[in-house]
Symmetry: C2
Subunit: 212 residues, 2 copies
C-alpha cells in the first residue's frame, strides 16, 4: 500500500510487466516479429488503451499500423525493470520457504540471482541449498558490503522477521522482499515489497464464493 | 487481470482484507475494544475514506464517533472471505515449492487447510510432507470428489502446469491458486488466482532503481 503513494509509475502497471515479458518471449519463440496493443489486449484480457499506457510507462513507443518490434520491446521491458543487469540478492532464512525460493526456477529468466543464504541456526550453515551457500547471520553485513548487494529476501518465520530485517538494514540493503507473514518496520529509505500469500488466498476464496 | 473484470468487489480491496485482519488481531491482543477508520488509515498508510469503503464492501458498518467493535469486525472480515468455514484444498506438485507451501505457517490463521498433496512422480507418493499425505496424481479425481474439495493449489514446474490444471478441472475443482510461472488455460467457470512471484520482483527492482 505504501508504495502506491511513493512513485509515479502505478503498481498494477509494474506488476503486469512480467506478464508482458512472458507473452513476448512466447511470441518471439513462435517467430512473431511485430506485436500490437490489440494482440496483448486479447491475450491478457486487458483494454488496448491500458496496454498502450503500460508500455509507455515502461518507455516503449509503438508505431501506427505496425505496433512494436517484438525483440526490441522485450529489451525495453527488461531494461525498465533492470533485469538486463543481473540483480543480485541475499536471502535470510534457510527454512522450507527459503529453500523453495532458492530453488524456484521462475526467477532465472528475470535475472534475479540469489548469491547466498543466511540463517540464525548455525547447524544449517556451511552447507549448500540448491547450490547456494548458507552462512551464519553474523556474517551478513560483511558479505553484503563486500559483494555490493542491494536486495534482501526475507523468508524467516513471523517472530524472526523484525530482527532479520534489522540485520538487512544494518548491512546496507536498499530493498527487502518480505515473504514472512509479519509486517516489518524499516527506515523510509528502504523499500519493502510485501509478498502477502494470504492476499492471494483471500482473492481465491472470495471469487469462489461469488460463483457458488 | 481477468478477475478484475468479473466481479463487483475491487481486487485491491480483497487483497487488503488479510492486512486488516492482521492488524485487528494485534489490536485485539492489546485489548483495544473499538477501532476507527483513522486507526487503520494511520497503521496502513491509507486514506480513511478508502478504509471505510473497503470495510463496507466486506459488509462492516461503523458507528459515528465509536467506530467498529474490534472483535465483531474481525468476525465480519473472516466471514467475508469464508475463513470461518475452513477452506480445504489439495495441492498438486510436491517439489520444493509445494513443500514450502505445505509447511507455510501463515495460512493456518486464515483457515486454509491443505488436506493432501498429489504428484506425478510416484516415488514421492506414500510419504508425508509436513504431515500431509502425498498421493499419485491418478488418485486426484477420486479424492476430490470423495472429500468435496473445491480449491486446488498448483506448485508444479512450468511444463507440468497445464496437464496438472487439466487434472484439477477434470476432478471438479472450482478455483485454482497457481504458483507455477506458467499461465494456465481453464474453462471460464474456474477461477484462477495467479501468484506471480516475478511481479513482486519487478516492483522491488523498479522501486530500488527509482531511489538510486
Amino acid at each position: 500500500m505504501k508504495e502506491q503513494q511513493r512513485s509515479g509509475i502505478p503498481l498494477p502497471t509494474i506488476k503486469r510487466i512480467p506478464v508482458y515479458v512472458s507473452v513476448l518471449e512466447k511470441w518471439l519463440k513462435e517467430g512473431k516479429e511485430t506485436v500490437s496493443t490489440t494482440d496483448f489486449a486479447a491475450a491478457l484480457t486487458l483494454k488496448p488503451v491500458q496496454v498502450r499506457k503500460d508500455l509507455a510507462f515502461a518507455g516503449a513507443e509503438g508505431k501506427p499500423r505496425i505496433g512494436y518490434r517484438t525483440e526490441e520491446l522485450l529489451e525495453t521491458l527488461h531494461r525498465f525493470v533492470g533485469w538486463n543487469n543481473l540483480s543480485e540478492a541475499v536471502l535470510v532464512g534457510a527454512g522450507a520457504l527459503g529453500t523453495a525460493i532458492l530453488g524456484y526456477k521462475g526467477f532465472d529468466r528475470f535475472g534475479l540471482k540469489i548469491k547466498a543464504a543466511f540463517d540464525i541456526d548455525e547447524s544449517k550453515c556451511g552447507a549448500t541449498v540448491h547450490d547456494k551457500p548458507v552462512y551464519p547471520i553474523r556474517d551478513l553485513k560483511q558479505y553484503v558490503k563486500k559483494n555490493g548487494i542491494i536486495m534482501g529476501i526475507l523468508t524467516v518465520s513471523e517472530n524472526g522477521a523484525q530482527p532479520a530485517a534489522d540485520a538487512l538494514v544494518e548491512a546496507g540493503i536498499q530493498g527487502i522482499w518480505n515473504f514472512s507473514p509479519a509486517q516489518i518496520d524499516v527506515p523510509d529509505s528502504i523499500f519493502v515489497q510485501q509478498e502477502d500469500l494470504a492476499a492471494g488466498l483471500a482473492v481465491l476464496a472470495v471469487r469462489i464464493k461469488e460463483r457458488q
